[in-house]
Amino acid sequence: MIVRETPLSVDEAIASVKHAGAGAVVVMLGIVRDHTRKDGARVGVVKLEYEAYAEMAAKIVAQIVDESCAKFPGVRASVQHRVGSLAIGDVAVVVAASAPHRKDAFDACELIIDRLKEDAPIWKREHGDDGVTWVGMGP
C-alpha cells in the first residue's frame, strides 16, 4: 500500500496490477465530495484532512488484499491512499484490481474498498459549512 501526501497515480496503480493473464482491470477512485449529509440535511464541505497510522494501515490493507486474493483467485490488487489536506475533487484513494475475468475484478475491487473503510487506521477531518469534525465521531 502506498500512503503519501502527493497526488495519487491511476497509471501507477494500473501498471502494478496489469499482466498478460488479466483480462480486466477495475479501478475505483475515492474523491473528495463537495457535500455530506447530516441528520438528513445537505452540508457543504470545503476540504478534508486525512491522517493515517501508516505502518498499521499498510499491514491491514495487505491483509485485506490477501483476503481478496483468497476469495477471488487470480486477482492482483493495488491500493494508494493520500494523506494531508485535500480539496474538493482531489483523489483520496485508488484501488485497482485485475483478474482473468471482469466479474472477479469488480468484486475484488469492491471488497477491498469496503474492507478498507471498515478497518484501515485512517481518519478524516471534515471542514464543512457547520464547522470542523472528525468523521465518524458524531455528536
Binding site: 475515492g30 478497518d119 481518519w123
Partner: protein, 79 residues
Amino acid sequence: MVRVLYFAACRERAGVADELVDVGNRTVEDAIAVVATRHPALRDVIARCRFAVNQAFVDKNSVVPDGAELALIPPVAGG
C-alpha cells in the same frame, strides 16, 4: 514502558501524539485505564476506540508486552 500512540480525535484530546507510559505486561483494559487517568479528556472517546498492539487489532483482555506500541484507534474514516 509502552509507547502509546494517539490519533485524530484522541490526539486532540490527549494533547500529544505519543508518549511512554509504564504499563508493560498489563492488559489493554488496565493500560487504557491508566491512560484515561493521565488524560481525562479522552474518557468520552475511549468507549468508541479500538486498540492495536504492535500494529494489530487486539481485544481488551490482551496483554501489552513491555516495549510494545499501543495505539488508540478512534472510529476510522479512510477511503
